[in-house]
């Protein structure tokens, strides 16, 4: 798992400046901030707005439109479980219930110990190996309850 750094405006400014000249720079900038800090701190909004000559409202609007961007730090590990039809046909609903019970949280929540954040996703493109789960950006197919438990155990021991 990537080691995340805490928010600092100087680094954010540098990440923004590197990309400000790209055509349609806003999404690449928000991705860069999230990749670096694990989330997009609301304090970044005025910095991005200034660099791109946009209003804060415009930047906030984009930040909140897309499911990917989050405004608070996630847990150390991010679990994204597919809820779309192909995975449903292979028992994704049961898997989702198991995961929620195992982690003790619902979607868009983080465990109290800060270890796991759970997100839903609609299709990871692994529909021929359903059900699918993405753990810290890595795709896993043919996941059942036992395999999921094994994966999260490995994610903690492999740190």
């Amino acid at each position: 798992m990537s080691r995340r750094v805490s928010w600092d405006a100087g680094t954010a400014r540098a990440l923004i400046a590197e990309r400000a000249a790209l055509p349609g720079a806003l999404l690449p900038i928000l991705h860069a901030l999230q990749e670096h800090f694990g989330y997009v701190d609301p304090a970044a909004v005025p910095l991005v707005a200034e660099a791109l000559n946009l209003s804060r409202a415009e930047v906030h609007g984009v930040l909140t439109f897309y499911h990917d961007f989050r405004q608070t730090p996630p847990g150390r590990h991010v679990v994204r479980v597919c809820r779309a039809e192909a995975c449903q046909s292979m028992g994704a609903d049961r898997l989702v219930e198991h995961i929620k019970g195992r982690l003790g949280i619902g979607f868009h929540e983080t465990t109290a110990d800060g270890r796991f954040t759970l997100e839903q996703v609609f299709c990871l493109g692994d529909c021929a190996c359903s059900p699918a789960v993405m753990l810290d950006g890595k795709l896993h197919g043919r996941v059942d309850a036992a395999r999921f438990d094994q994966l999260i155990a490995q994610s903690e021991s492999g740190r």
């Binding site: 349609g24 897309y66 039809e85 493109g125 021929a128 190996c129 795709l139």
Partner: protein, 518 residues
């Protein structure tokens, strides 16, 4: 002698352990002191056999699968020759019936070549289409694509050549080629496979499109759920640029074309072309009114060709072999081949590229081998989350744009998801509305509000409240969404809902689930 061994680096193959298999191959070779070349190819698309390991022999490539890391050591003899009587041995890859019966044009190289080797790409017919296009005026390239009968593989099925002709005819200081790689439909993965398994074919197709219409820049918008495909495309674009296939003078022709890659951010609506353009411009992915068409006013207000990955990746073979060659495959007005993605509850899920006209039944039983669970098949959803649910009685429908439209369904991007008899179509209809509510961009009322009302109405039907009246209301709501929505999300969500009600009425008439005592 060097032995060539192939273990895919396709995301789906990796998701079931291909990386560990590749490591085991290296270790086994080292232990035997064998000289091997380990190629990380794309997937052949036989996903129930992944991780699929292949070994090159004089007779051809021998396949093993599905291979676990712990199996690897037993697949090779002391000289690192494949042990063909091992239970996991599948014989010659090309002779596997699933593969042998296909007509692979767009996916001709996927799984065969090293995806990042330009030499391999050229040795297998790559860049021949571009070479020919470079000798032709733009009008002739467009005409070749028109003649091929190619229709947009993203879902709408609009003739690709006609789109190009409009952009060619528009005058502007700058034009763009945009590739829609926001493959959000559940049950589809052809774009992902191709970007990971044969990225140069997409780059070549976009370059030809640029030459055809006079565009010097292209963008590929890849969904963020495909980080692996994004990395692979990034590498491939760098390699193509370094070799002079992209840049100020494409292959020394003096004509410019370059590519940029952009990552989506988890919004299904960005697969809609105008919403995608907004997103590329750095805005909320809110759809645009049409007209103006993107062909007149697209990316940054300039004339833009926007096509799906498969459409663009099919252009090189059309230019190489000619429009007539491609047109000779298929049926009716659906010309050429369709890469079908068989998914969900099916024994042999995978990619099947065939000429249009194959029936769902042939597909699911002759290729798919029936359900994975072994239970009776009950429903098939074709064309992603906005596609209709079909019962067994409609499985003789041929895969053809018009035949599906006549049954109030759509071929879409070619995804086929199979469900066994444990599926509850009332729940699936509810999910279709829920998905629309989550993914609606919010611009038009029928989609934004209608989808939420749809969930509520279906909840009342499931709960047994005033069923007849609520079913009527649901039908009315679907009609409003169908006729009143601005784009396909709100406009097609009624397809899965109404097909579920029509073909599986018993699921909407079950005894209400018992509510826990208060």
């Amino acid at each position: 002698m060097t032995v060539r061994v192939f273990v895919p680096r396709d995301a789906a193959a990796l998701s079931v352990g291909a990386h560990a298999v590749a490591e085991a191959v290296r270790a086994a070779a080292e232990a035997r002191g064998a000289d091997i070349e380990l190629v990380r190819n794309g997937s052949r698309g036989l996903f129930w056999l992944e991780p699929l390991l292949e070994v090159e022999t004089q007779a051809g490539r021998i396949a093993f699968g599905p291979v676990r890391a712990e199996d690897v050591d037993l697949l090779f003899d002391a000289g690192f020759r494949p042990i063909t009587d091992h239970p996991l041995c599948l014989g010659l890859t090309e002779d596997i019936p699933y593969l042998k019966r296909q007509e692979r044009l767009t996916f001709a190289r996927c799984g065969i070549t090293d995806p990042l080797s330009l030499a391999d790409y050229r040795a297998h017919g790559g860049y021949r289409g571009l070479a020919r296009a470079l000798t032709m005026p733009g009008e002739a390239i467009v005409e070749e694509v028109v003649q091929s009968g190619l229709r947009g593989r993203g879902g709408a099925g609009f003739p690709t050549g006609i789109k190009w002709k409009t952009v060619l005819g528009a005058s502007a200081d700058q034009k763009y080629i945009v590739c829609n790689a926001d493959e959000g439909d559940s049950g589809t993965y052809a774009d992902r496979m191709l970007m990971e398994g044969d990225p140069f074919v997409l780059i070549e197709g976009m370059t030809i499109a640029g030459l055809a219409v006079g565009a010097t820049e292209g963008y590929v918008y890849i969904r963020s759920e495909y980080p692996h495909a994004f990395r692979q495309m990034t590498r491939a674009v760098d390699i193509a640029r370094a070799a002079g296939y992209l840049g100020a003078s494409v292959h020394g022709s003096g004509k410019a074309f370059d590519l940029h890659l952009r990552l989506g951010a988890g919004a299904y609506i960005c697969g809609e072309e105008t919403s995608l353009l907004e997103s590329l411009e750095g805005k909320r992915g809110i759809i645009r009114y049409k007209p103006p068409l993107p062909a007149h006013k697209g990316l940054f207000g300039k004339p833009t060709v926007i096509n799906n990955v498969i459409s663009l990746a099919t252009v090189p073979i059309i230019l190489d072999r000619g429009g007539a060659f491609y047109r000779d495959f298929g049926m009716g007005r659906s010309r050429g081949t369709l890469p079908i993605q068989l998914a969900g509850n099916v024994k042999h899920a995978g990619l099947i590229e065939k000429a249009f006209g194959l029936t769902l039944r042939e597909l699911i039983y002759n290729y798919g081998g029936g359900t994975a669970t072994g239970r009776p098949l009950r429903a098939v959803q074709v064309g992603g989350p906005l596609g209709a649910y079909f019962p067994d009685s409609l499985l003789d429908l041929p895969l053809d744009y018009e035949a599906f439209a006549a049954q109030k369904g759509m071929v879409g991007h070619g995804g086929v998801v199979v469900f066994d008899d444990t599926v509850d179509l009332a729940r699936q209809a509810r999910f279709a509305m829920e998905f629309c509510a989550i993914e609606s961009c919010g611009k038009c009322t029928p989609c934004r509000i209608g989808s939420t009302r749809g969930v509520e109405v279906i909840d009342r039907i499931i709960a047994g409240t005033n069923r007849a009246a609520n079913l009527l209301l649901l039908d009315d709501l679907c009609t409003t969404m169908l006729d009143g929505s601005l784009c396909a999300l709100g406009g097609l969500t009624p397809l899965p809902v109404q097909s579920a009600v029509k073909h599986f009425p018993e699921d909407f008439d079950r005894p209400a689930p018992r509510v826990a005592a208060e």
